[in-house]
Symmetry: C5
Subunit: 326 residues, 5 copies
């Protein structure tokens, strides 16, 4: 679906243009065209490929989607694949990550963005860019930066949510009886982490090649902007690694807590077993049928036996309490 197709000159929008006229504007060196597609049909992509002269392999990637994040040079043009991550409620009420994909074709005077499975578009980016003509004057490279920056900035709330989840697990990791829910939460967090990691890490690696060293022509003169994107990705990466390491530790610690809890159950089992077994043994003794058991005839034999049981149990209870088995 074609979302918008606009020609710009000198940092200012000159016209919404029909897609048939794209090739005409693209050939005018002082203009650039910015086209946005959302889940395009194969025919729409083919038309764009023709209008912009896109490389067959890149178009194939955009057609099939499900690529890993990357930034590739095809001659003087760039092809970038970014992942978007949108937290959603699953049908069963749990939080899940909806992974979308944004494919960007950038040439000397065009930018084509193709969104797959992602709700949020780039209208806001376009509006902001149009308000800053002095920056938009930089052309396709700047638009490329603006879109990347927008996608990357959307990762921050996701990371924050993961950190909050980790903290809420950490708060109850030393609680008794929380081991099962903790372990499930830790595993789920790890799964989400991996989704984010797969979105961020290949992109960080690729972005590192857009500033410093040999830079693609299109990004020339915008080093500081792309370094800023890289720096944001690096910050996310650092947070991810931090969460990952704490997760590993938390899983170990949780295992320890499970063992500790088990140990405590065994102790309580042992303590109560003793408290019940001792009177049972005493009762067993006075249940023996020997003819000559003088205690059995004493008036106070029975209360004495019960008393002995109680004293023994009181002592045991005190001992177990003291050693924290109970």
């Amino acid at each position: 679906m074609l979302i918008s197709c606009v020609a710009y000159q000198d940092g200012r929008k000159i016209a919404d243009i029909p897609s048939e006229d794209i090739s005409e504007y693209v050939t005018r060196s002082e203009c650039f065209v910015w086209v946005a597609l959302f889940e395009p049909s194969s025919e729409e992509l083919d038309e764009m490929a023709e209008q912009f002269g896109l490389h067959e392999l890149a178009v194939d990637d955009a057609r099939h989607g499900h690529q890993r994040p990357k930034i590739e040079e095809y001659g003087n043009s760039l092809f970038a694949v970014l992942h978007t991550i949108e937290p959603e409620k699953a049908a069963d009420g749990s939080d899940v990550f909806n992974t979308g994909e944004v494919d960007i074709f950038v040439g000397a005077n065009y930018v084509l963005t193709v969104r797959h499975r992602t709700h949020i578009g780039f209208a806001a980016v376009r509006a902001r860019s149009e308000r800053e003509p002095e920056l938009l004057k930089n052309g396709a490279g700047y638009v490329f930066y603006a879109v990347m920056d927008d996608v990357v900035d959307r990762y921050f709330p996701v990371i924050d949510a993961l950190e909050t989840e980790l903290e809420s697990i950490e708060e109850q990791i030393f609680e008794r009886n929380a081991a099962r829910s903790n372990i499930e939460a830790l595993y789920e967090l790890k799964q989400k982490l991996m989704v984010l990691k797969h979105a961020v890490e290949p992109l960080m690696e690729a972005t590192g090649r857009l500033y410093g060293g040999r830079v693609p022509q299109i990004c020339a003169g915008m080093n500081e902007y792309f370094r800023d994107v890289y720096d944001h990705l690096n910050r996310i990466h650092t947070s991810l690694e931090g969460i990952r390491e704490m997760l590993t530790t938390a899983i170990s610690v949780n295992l320890g807590m499970i063992s500790l809890a088990d140990s405590e159950v065994t102790k309580r089992l042992a303590a109560w077993a003793a408290i019940i077994a001792v009177p049972t043994m005493v009762a067993g003794i006075y249940g023996m049928n020997f003819e000559h058991m003088p205690e059995l005839k004493w008036w106070f034999g029975y209360p004495l036996a019960i008393g002995a049981m109680l004293v023994a149990d009181a002592y045991l209870y005190y001992r177990f309490k003291k050693s924290e088995w109970l």
Copy 2:
């Protein structure tokens, strides 16, 4: 076994040729010859080595098979070893991976593929290539790409199968009583993962040298194609690393679940032990033979005792239920 031996010119098949004529076609710079062998005898290989002038060390590798994936330059020719992975039913009904090997000799105007222990050949690749003469015009380098691409693309369904397996384990990792089957499934998955890893990683490393930097003569001008293969391998590699990391976590979590289950058994053991032991203790007490035990003479002594037992047990049951020991 010789599968096929075809000479091409200008991107089009000119003839099926007998293997004796190979050297004649190879010397014509406008032609190239594409030969496919399947588990060749030592003599067949020797003949090919002579016809194409292959390097002794490479021929030795192809003869013995069981090489690790690699791409080596011998002067102006290349020798590549790829692994194929075909899921199969083992004799005992379990899923196993059948690892085959494809050795490829590529020269300025010849391609020789040698398959070992793999069912699927390259007839489809050949057919597709012949339908695209404008690409096949690129000669041996393109054929090399097409074969690699085909082998690499066959890894995707295997990876998908592994991911599906992981997901099905994840679905029951928090189920009670599934620990044993989970642990077996996790270990088996790990074994399969290692097979795939050994096929993919050395190849990825080697493919990285076929584009960018100093590129072997044969692959010149096809940078974007080999980068595409590299990108596919990288994607597989990322998936493998993801599965691997989740596997490690899953094994830890499974260990936690085993401990948790053990803990729950201990709790239930303890609870039922208490519920049985308390009446036993009471019965023991009224089984004592003291002469002066007034309760024994009461009319309602027996029902009272039984009642006390039931009340105690009901209370215990309630407490254990509440604290989830039962």
Copy 3:
């Protein structure tokens, strides 16, 4: 809030200047201006940006804070973000790390430090620098070094505190009954470690580019000073890695100690169960109601039975003591 704003010439303070005059001093090549801000308002930052001609992206970073440590070149100026870590008592009495941020803008003849969420300022650094005019003569680069050195040196007592904590955990890691408090302490230590790690590691990486190789103009001729800072960071990094590795080992060992403790509880449970069960069994036997049980009629039957029980238990006790189950 503007803390101070001083112009220096030839290594000596010439005047406290009002912030409006900054741009005037900055243009005089023999002077440099050192301004210190603490949690500035957006307007204060904007004014500074104008006076010094700071880059928009850097100012944005300083405005929002919460950056990862980094050192970036913007043309001939540098922008550095450092983290400060100040141990504090939390509301609930536990030790926590208060992470602050210091942003430093350095140009040919100015230094601007911006502190966020950190109590300790750089008055001491300024005083020390003013006492050493022969060093301060080096200008903005030296001030940059002095501030970095001060921030980095403040990490050492923090690291020492972590090492002391680790040692105190290690002292009781093989104590019985300390497993729960140990595991909590280990996890808390790990959390603190991660905070420090996030402050130190990106900075170390960035500092490595301030000496050797291509050095930013501002730091030229001060190689040995920045190498010294790098060396300090590296020392901290090595300590962190050491603590981290010991923590991982300690968590494993702690898990082992928990299992060992559990095992010991089971042994004691088993031992006492046996000691109680054996007399109970004997008592049960002599509680049977067979008519023909000659022992029941013996005078010494009862004491004999009791004696047998005592002997059996004494033997069991001795055996269990010997095998250390008790």
Copy 4:
């Protein structure tokens, strides 16, 4: 002990020569001398050092043995240390690895091999080389390759043995009651793995410098041969890493199996305890001495009680069987 000392010219043996004449042959540029020593005395080494003009540090290394594998350049000569690994039966019947050492001095026209603690010599290599004069013509570099290749090829059966061991452990890792023997076997395998790893990895690193990039003079023109050795080492390295990773996983899994087994024991303990405790409780109740217990007087009271016990136990048994506790 001097094993052999032979002079070669043009790829052919010209004479067995006494060690005193070495220096004479070495000066003739068309010849090269290949000397083999086995556990030489210090004097023998000194003589060789003089004859060949070996570097003091290299000779010291060869004298003391117990070096790590390495390949060092001393001017125009090379000094290589390789490890040999020979599986042996230890005195107590267990399989152990006997680690030997081969030191190789290679110069423009000499090769000196020194074996320590290794049974198998290089007579076979020498014989094979002498049968291929066209290769031996390459001189000392070729001999160096041939010896390295021989040593490296001897690692393959060792690796195969380790893989077989791993497989045999894997076959019984999910067997009940095999945990103890598995864990011992896994640890032993790990120890053997480390021996092999220490032999292979430093050597791989060193061999990587013998082809591609700046190659030592002696190995010039033999790139493909040394790359082949490197490739073999890399293959071994990949196998080692694979075994290592599976070992780590197997140890985790084994730990899980131990916990599972423990859990199963606890379940059976609990089940049988219940089956015994219920009749004991019932018997206890009818062992009470209340005067008014009508059941005690019923004719069918006793069989009824026994029957109730049996029914209860049958029910419990059925339940435990169903939930697989028994």
Copy 5:
């Protein structure tokens, strides 16, 4: 404390000189001065700094000690920090590592060694060097090598001790009842390992820059000597990594052994519980007070009951023995 201060010329000692004369000898290009200090006062260091013209930052490091190992260039001079490790008996009789520090200042014609907290000095190195004037002729660089070589060689017995400790742990890791002492020994070994690791690894990294590539002026022409030191450090590093990996495995294995031992205790508990509970149950049954229990009247009822108990227990005992629960 000044230990010695000697001037050398042409590889030979010319005089013990007073420290005031140092600067005079240092200016003579054909001489070099070798000074050894032991825990010098601040004044002694200041004097040396003046005499030799040492860099302030390096002198500061030497003054405060507790540096990490490093080798730094200051103009044409070098400053090295090495750690010494001396095993000692602690006050409580345990083995501990005493970590000392050796700071070395090396210039074109001076060497200054400063020892902290280390008992063993360099008198032996000096004596050996003086016996080899042809090597000592190389000047300060050679002395630097000789001291480094001496310090590094002292690591070998320490490593050997660690390996011996590891082996002695390995010998009893599968012993029953050794888990607690093993785990303590493993942890202690890990602590020692870390001490050594911190001494060796930074030094190895630093030494790697003293040969090959751009070499500091002072070490020029001594490539092979410093490579030898590097090689020794590398060997130690490899051993450390080996010990470290085995330690990790051993801790896992130990955890498995603890679980196994626990499992065995549970089995024995279960077995004995059954053996005691069965007669108790039988006795309970014949302790019931039913009026109509024909067995109670049989002459042989009692011995039959006892017999039944014995038979049941014998059978249980046999079964448990067979399944190795006992």
